[in-house]
């Protein structure tokens, strides 16, 4: 139409149309956003840089997964990032004691978005057999987790299956979802689950059913 910028601003009708277009393109999927999502997700899922956080025997299986026989480089994880600043996937391989909880959280906070987390093995996912005074009962109490890999420890095939699941999850992401990268803390104390749920976590299970807690 060849309108000057001042004229466009002055004209309420054109202004509304412009608003509508902007709103539509950001909040609802359309041809442009889905094509862009496809491209971006395709690139992201095929070049995931893992940040291995190995604390126990799961780390041995992780090393086997990274080594030549299983070779996660086939899935785009060519570069193991030992710095959180250049990593996409946090792989927690092993048990996490409470003393390590703030360290884990700090490393997660240091990773730039977009980032994902794989909780590898029974201990990282639920505390495993370590239902005792010193162990975090699942890292999802302190940080968000995308994929849980069961096993004690999981075989490399299991971890690769978890990585494939994560890639599927990334395929389905869209930037029109505003809550996608939102991390919802419960309260100000840094928990990722409500306190009642954290308390429940180890209640009926474990090898210490007879234990009573004094507080």
């Amino acid at each position: 139409m060849g309108l000057e910028p001042e004229q466009r601003l002055d004209n309420p009708a054109t202004e509304n149309v412009a608003d509508d277009i902007t709103e539509m393109s950001v909040t609802s999927p359309n041809w442009v956003t889905t094509r862009l999502d496809f491209l971006v997700n395709w690139a992201r899922k095929n070049s995931l840089w893992p940040m291995p956080f190995g604390t126990a025997c799961c780390a041995i299986e992780y090393m086997a997964t990274a080594a030549s026989r299983f070779d996660i480089a086939r899935f785009g994880m060519e570069r193991q990032s030992f710095s959180p600043r250049q990593a996409d996937v946090f792989i927690c391989a092993g048990r996490v004691p409470f003393k390590l909880a703030p360290v884990l959280r700090r490393i997660w906070d240091q990773m730039p978005q977009p980032k994902w987390c794989i909780s590898m093995g029974a201990c990282a996912s639920s505390g495993g057999i370590f239902d005792n005074y010193s162990m975090v009962q699942g890292i999802d109490t302190i940080m968000p987790v995308d994929v849980y890999v069961p096993g004690c420890p999981p075989r490399p095939e299991g971890l690769i299956y978890g990585i494939r699941l994560l890639q599927k999850k990334i395929e389905g992401e869209t930037f029109t979802d505003e809550a996608l990268r939102e991390e919802r803390l419960v309260g100000r104390d840094g928990l990722f689950l409500p306190p009642e749920r954290v308390d429940e976590l180890s209640e009926p299970f474990g090898n210490s059913v007879q234990q009573t807690r004094s507080a």
Partner: protein
């Protein structure tokens, strides 16, 4: 023979001894334990120059005293000796440090303090080593400590997240003067006065 030589030197301070599975165990009274350890280290015939481990044992029988265990070895003579002190649990749990005899006792004594709450008097830097500095639930390896700890899971997680990861180390271990101001106040005091402290 070590035990007869010990009895000769310390008399009634050697409470009793036993040989179990080929290991010689000597119970010493608490008042003379430091002298006995120093004697075992310095006497040429004994020459126990290597401190293998320090640990503690609490028995299920609540009346039975808590035992502190020193496992000694003479590298030259290739013999081991286990020295024990029985501590009445109703009294404060205190034994003198042997850090002045074997420097390696430093972390071993800290571990016994952390897990059992035994105070080693004269230790230069007695603070928790496995659990974090602000850990408030007590001493985990004591028999009256519940396996899952005293606090609820949510409270434990909350306290753990609130801890400062850098506050677990002494100034020598950190060698960063800036972190000094983030340490708990009580720990700052101790570091300033102890052998390890060098900040004024």
């Amino acid at each position: 023979m070590t035990v007869s030589a010990l009895r000769e030197a310390f008399g009634s301070a050697i409470v009793r001894h036993a040989v179990i599975c080929g290991d010689t165990i000597v119970w010493v009274s608490r008042d003379r334990i430091h002298d006995a350890l120093a004697w075992l280290q310095a006497t040429p015939d004994q020459d126990y120059n290597y401190l293998t481990d320090i640990t503690a044992v609490e028995y299920r029988d609540t009346e039975r005293p808590l035992e502190i265990v020193w496992q000694l070895r003479s590298l030259a003579r290739k013999v081991d000796l286990r020295v024990k002190v029985a501590l009445d649990k109703r009294a404060p749990l205190e034994v003198p440090t042997c850090w002045d005899l074997w420097k390696g006792a430093d972390w071993l004594e800290r571990e016994v303090y952390d897990m059992f709450g035994v105070t080693f008097t004269g230790h230069p830097d007695l603070r928790r080593i496995l659990m974090w500095e602000t850990y408030a639930e007590g001493y985990p390896l004591r028999k009256d400590f519940p396996l899952r700890g005293h606090f609820s899971r949510a409270e434990q997680t909350r306290q753990a997240l609130a801890a400062n990861p850098e506050a677990n180390y002494s100034l020598e271990e950190l060698s960063i003067a800036e972190a000094y101001h983030e340490l708990p106040k009580e720990m700052r005091e101790r570091l300033r006065h102890g052998e390890r402290g060098f900040l004024k």
